[in-house]
């Protein structure tokens, strides 16, 4: 909302500079995003209001003329190329040395005297462009005839315009008067409301038109005045100026007045050409389905029954609260009008405006909720201006329908309530003076000797945002200034019952994964089917669902998995694969929809962890291992992760579509599949154009895992006081035998407390279908130190058992 300071000053006197006022308004909730200082660079001594006293022809150039400019005490003749000069014209004159925007460079330059076609020109007659008033240059700037000669232009035309970002709760501040009331509260001043006086004629409005509201749920109040003998012309300069500064284009005096009063009061008004209204009647009614209206912007609009129209006996003449129709549009020949000031139901206007994608100054205000009381002062003000400026004759009386909803209950405010909300006592005199300066009316007050008070307060007709005591507390607090309210620490005890939850779990996971050298990534929740297919989903197994209004088809589907997300991240970082390897993970939500039509249905939203390892084990350096990461690197991460989280862990082969046959495993915890780890297959790697290095991936369902974690807590195990003994055993077994089975069998022996695979070999020296495995075994007993006999006996038992079960035999020939 643009608020010219000079307009504001018509209603409230103040001497604060624009910057300070902007700061104060911002603090009380009217954020001033910009101050437009018109003429801030016009030097008071150099740019002056002048009058053209004579014009001579240039002796050597047909296109140039030599106007003499009177500046009161002096006259100066200059060379001018503009063709809109005439004697007696008021103009802005710049002496040499003035700072103006150059027509050539489009930058601010110092005006120098110059010889133009042989004639010296000391100064110039300025165009709007040169003064920075407009982006284009169309001849010189013409000032009103009453502009006083000889005064600095900045004093005459200078202006500061505040650009205020009005929050949706304050439609009253979509008006100059509304802002004036805020200023009044800030400086403890009083607003002078404008004059709304006019004389009525003999003829009564009831005798010329019949106005009714058919659908009162859509229109809370409808007021109208009948005015005749109007002369349509250009508006006076002051009116046009205010409109231009407020970014409204002047049209003619009548339309300009309705716009001016809307900006002044915040109440949209509309004028209908009376002679174009059919049947001398106006009906405020719901639109009929498929009914049409051509709105003032020239568009034909198809309406539906949720909308409200103003209609004559035949058809709609306006789309209520949004825009007028061309049918009864004001034109140069208009002489009689019905001036409407109405109040439409806010949600109806909002829906209409959204459906038709038609947002206007009127709809913007109505959908924010205006008080029906506002219709009256605005109507009277506009009538008074029309009778004055358009010479209109106002008929007797006025239409005013459906005023029943205008009762506004006073709000009861107590000193206790104020201190309950703010945490500080505010004395009554402060409260009273703030509320009064904002226009509130104190209906009833009771103050006891302890300065406890109970007040009954009526809100002013322009405020629609105040309905409960807290609203009044905010009024008081913001005018006192939030910075002036004390600062305390919560004194209530800290609530108990904090539990380990998903947030804590994810934080633990992040720390562990980062400590393993992995970097966290976060990607978008939305994706598309191509991306999902690329990551290996076939159309039948995509459990994805969509956004109704995607911003682009690239981001249309909710991701059903993090696989595509992390593969994309990897692809975007492929530059790192060769030199240092990529180790990344992402924790995030995936979304699965299923058939359900209940009202409070929520899709399945699950928390997942994915990770990828790809490329070199280490960053290239002179003394590090230069191998590529393989399946056992990623498996090792899972093993340590689960160990640190105190979760049991098993792996069983899987056949997930994403992986190479045989190199993937389901991650099992407490007999449940909680994830998968493996080497991504060639086809998918190929989709992403990835290199030959193994692409290692894991995925874990965190919702499942956190449930399992809840049942497992860490317990200290005392260690054996008797020393253990180590024995290595090297065995030859069939390749098909799984190492884990050998290990488990070894551990079955009661004296063995640990067994780890320390070597695996196949190839030369070993039969083709066999492999050699070497285990390191720890023997110990809590009953005492084991003798070598005991150990040898156990070892023999183990080897025999392995032989029986897996056909294993001791590898000889090496030691």
């Amino acid at each position: 909302m643009k608020i010219p300071i000079s307009w504001l000053k018509k209603y409230i006197k103040f001497e604060i500079i624009a910057e300070d006022l902007a700061e104060k308004l911002t603090m009380v909730g009217l954020e001033v995003s910009k101050i437009d200082n018109v003429g801030s660079n016009w030097d008071k001594d150099k740019i002056i209001v002048g009058e053209i006293s004579s014009i001579d022809a240039h002796p050597d150039a047909e296109r140039l003329r030599l106007p003499t400019v009177s500046l009161g005490d002096v006259s100066i003749t200059v060379v001018c190329g503009a063709d809109n000069l005439y004697i007696g014209q008021k103009i802005a004159f710049a002496h040499q040395g003035a700072m103006l925007i150059s027509n050539r460079s489009k930058k601010i330059e110092i005006l120098k005297s110059a010889k133009i076609r042989g004639i010296e020109s000391c100064g110039m007659v300025c165009s709007e462009f040169e003064l920075g008033l407009s982006g284009e240059s169309e001849g010189i700037l013409e000032l009103p005839v009453d502009a006083p000669i000889g005064i600095p232009l900045v004093d005459y035309l200078g202006e500061s315009i505040l650009d205020i970002e009005v929050t949706p709760n304050r439609p009253d501040c979509l008006s100059v008067l509304g802002v004036a009331h805020e200023v009044a509260a800030l400086i403890n001043g009083t607003v002078k409301e404008p004059s709304n006086h006019y004389n009525e004629g003999e003829n009564h409005i009831d005798s010329v038109i019949d106005i009714r509201i058919k659908n009162p749920e859509k229109c809370n109040r409808y007021m109208a005045i009948f005015i005749t003998n109007i002369i349509i012309a250009e508006s006076p300069r002051w009116l046009q100026d205010f409109l231009i500064k407020s970014d409204v284009r002047p049209i003619n005096n009548l339309v300009d007045i309705t716009n001016f009063v809307m900006l002044e009061y915040g109440q949209p008004l509309h004028a209908f050409d009376f002679d174009k209204i059919k049947g001398n009647q106006i009906l405020v009614r719901s639109a009929n389905a498929k009914e049409c209206i051509t709105t003032l912007d020239g568009q034909e609009r198809i309406l539906d029954s949720s909308m409200v129209v103003i209609a004559d006996s035949q058809s709609p003449i306006a789309l209520g609260g949004v825009m007028g129709g061309t049918k009864c549009e004001i034109d140069d020949n208009t002489t009689s009008i019905i001036l409407e000031s109405a109040n439409f139901t806010q949600s109806i206007i909002r829906k209409t405006s959204a459906k038709l994608k038609l947002r206007t100054e009127a709809s913007y205000r109505f959908e924010r909720g205006l008080r029906p009381e506002l219709a009256e002062p605005a109507l009277l003000r506009a009538t008074s201006l029309i009778s004055e400026i358009c010479r209109g004759e106002v008929a007797k009386g006025r239409i005013d329908i459906n005023v029943k909803e205008m009762i506004c209950e006073p709000i009861s405010l107590t000193s206790k309530h104020i201190s309950k909300v703010l945490g500080v006592d505010i004395d009554f005199s402060t409260v009273e003076s703030i509320l009064i300066s904002l226009g509130f009316i104190i209906k009833d007050k009771n103050i006891d000797n302890k300065n406890e008070y109970v007040v009954s307060i009526e809100t002013p007709y322009w405020r629609s945002d105040i309905s409960i005591p807290e609203d009044l507390v905010e009024e008081i607090a913001r005018i006192i200034g939030y910075d002036n309210i004390p600062t305390k620490m919560i004194s209530a005890p800290i609530p108990s019952g904090a539990k380990y939850n998903m947030y804590n779990f994810k934080e633990d996971l992040r720390d562990l994964l980062v400590s393993f050298g992995m970097s966290e990534t976060i990607s978008y929740n939305l994706t598309n089917l191509d991306v999902l297919r690329k990551s290996g989903f076939s159309d039948v197994n995509i459990p994805a669902f969509k956004v109704l209004n995607p911003m682009s088809i690239e981001q249309e589907y909710f991701r059903p998995s993090l696989r595509a997300s992390i593969l994309n991240t990897l692809t975007n970082n492929r530059r790192f694969v060769e030199k240092e390897g990529v180790k990344i993970f992402e924790i995030g939500k995936v979304f699965w929809a299923f058939e359900d039509e209940t009202i409070n249905f929520m899709p399945n939203e699950k928390e997942f962890l994915v990770g990828i390892l790809h490329g070199k084990k280490n960053k290239d350096s002179w003394n590090v291992v230069k191998e590529e990461m393989d399946f056992f690197d990623v498996k090792g991460i899972i093993e340590e992760l689960f160990f640190k989280l105190n979760l049991n862990l098993d792996f069983v082969p899987s056949n997930d579509f994403m992986f190479d046959n045989g190199l993937s495993a389901n991650i099992i915890c407490s007999n449940e599949i909680v994830g998968i780890v493996g080497e991504v297959n060639y086809l998918i790697k190929n989709n992403y154009g990835l290199q030959s290095a193994p692409l290692l991936f894991f995925e874990i369902d965190l919702d499942k895992l956190i449930e399992l974690r809840k049942f497992q807590s860490k317990k200290y195990t005392p260690f054996n006081i008797y020393p253990g003994a180590y024995r290595d055993v090297s065995l030859i077994v069939d390749k098909a035998v799984q190492v884990i089975d050998i290990k488990n069998l070894i551990l079955e022996n009661s004296l063995v407390s640990g067994s780890s695979l320390i070597d695996l070999y196949f190839g030369e020296g070993i039969p083709a279908d066999k492999k050699s495995v070497m285990f390191s075994l720890v023997f110990e007993s809590s009953k005492g130190t084991l003798t070598s006999n005991q150990i040898e006996r156990s070892l023999n038992q183990i080897v025999k058992k392995l032989e029986r079960k897996f056909g294993a035999y001791i590898r000889s020939g090496i030691n």
Binding site: T26, G29, S347, G369, E470, D471, R478, I490, N573
Partner: protein
């Protein structure tokens, strides 16, 4: 014994031994030398036995000198042996060991995403004040995202939240699901599911239907805070926010509270800190205002309390919400928000 034992002789032996040690390069040679001089039948031992033949006036001095020499030799042999052993453990390593500028075998850990890092910093700033961290769904019902927060259907305050709707109709023919536009729905969820007192933080992803540029993302993170109890006031809100801002931005920052509007609070607040780039003078970072907005806040609206079944006569509370990336951008001097979720490791690995 034919050899004369005097000070000169001792000095001569010392010089010989040092020369022989420096010529030796193997462990074996040194061990031999040690036997030659310090062995039971070695030269020094022999001299020590012969001290008694030295004239009585010199005996004491010679004895002392021999003992000093013995100790000195033991030390020299030890040093030389260590040197040889060191070299033999890793032959050819002398060169590397003498260039300490060679890069170490650096132990690298990974990096947290800057968003996670800042979420954690924010939460940690509030944890000592008794807050608990909870999270909520990213796809929400209109009811929680808007209605229970005093944002009815067809209300202009919905304009503050450009919304992505989920393509799913219920059996009333409505589209009730959306991508949450803020973390505030958790205010209603937390209050609905538990009794006061409440002190929670809600970090999480939120979504706005808006075009992206250097300072706007359609997908970003917020941290929400909610405190509800008996006797919670605006002064408590200010104190809590002050404490947080000081922890995160440092105690020399000025903090400004100004009136603002959010439908679910009354009174509503906008919290800013003075710009640390220009020290409040006005620059590009603060949009020439000297102030940087860091959060919205306010006293929980009585309608919100009643809508979840709390009695606003008994309970009061405050809520606040802040954008995480914005704080990260300020702290790290990041100028383009789009860097956060483009997942370029050149960006991510800096944190």
């Amino acid at each position: 014994m034919s050899e004369v034992l005097n000070i000169e002789k001792i000095a001569e032996i010392r010089a010989n031994v040092i020369a022989e040690i420096s010529k030796s390069s193997t462990e074996e040679e040194i061990l031999k030398l040690r036997i030659k001089y310090l062995g039971r039948k070695g030269i020094i031992s022999k001299f020590l036995r012969n001290v008694r033949d030295v004239p009585i006036d010199q005996r004491k001095v010679i004895g002392q000198e021999l003992n000093i020499l013995k100790q000195k030799l033991e030390m020299l042999f030890e040093e030389k042996l260590n040197e040889i052993l060191n070299a033999s453990v890793n032959p050819g390593k002398e060169i590397s060991l003498k260039d300490v500028s060679l890069p170490g075998r650096r132990k690298t850990i990974g990096t947290l995403h800057p968003t996670s890092k800042i979420v954690r910093e924010i939460c940690n700033a509030f944890l000592p004040m008794g807050f608990q961290v909870v999270e909520g769904p990213e796809i929400e019902l209109d009811r929680y995202n808007f209605e229970l927060l005093n944002i009815p259907k067809d209300h202009p305050s919905r304009d503050m939240f450009d919304t992505f709707w989920v393509d799913w109709k219920n059996n009333n023919g409505e589209y009730p699901l959306l991508m949450r536009t803020h973390t505030s729905p958790m205010q209603a969820r937390v209050m609905e599911s538990s009794e006061p007192p409440i002190r929670v933080l809600v970090p999480g992803k939120v979504f706005r239907y808006e075009a992206t540029d250097a300072s706007h993302e359609w997908h970003f993170f917020q941290v929400e805070g909610l405190v509800v109890d008996k006797g919670i006031t605006f002064a408590d809100l200010k104190g809590t926010v002050y404490e947080f801002a000081r922890t995160i931005f440092g105690s020399d920052r000025k903090i400004r509270f100004r009136c603002d509007y959010f439908p679910f609070v009354e009174p509503g607040v906008d919290v800013s800190i003075d710009c640390f780039v220009c020290e409040g003078k006005g620059c590009r970072v603060c949009g020439k205002t000297g102030w940087i907005e860091i959060m919205g806040a306010g006293m929980v609206h009585p309608k919100v309390l009643s809508s979840v079944g709390y009695d606003p006569e008994i309970y009061s509370g405050f809520a606040f919400g802040m954008g995480v990336e914005r704080i990260a951008m300020l702290k790290y001097g990041i100028e383009d928000i789009r860097l956060f979720y483009s997942n370029d490791l050149r960006f991510l690995k800096q944190f």
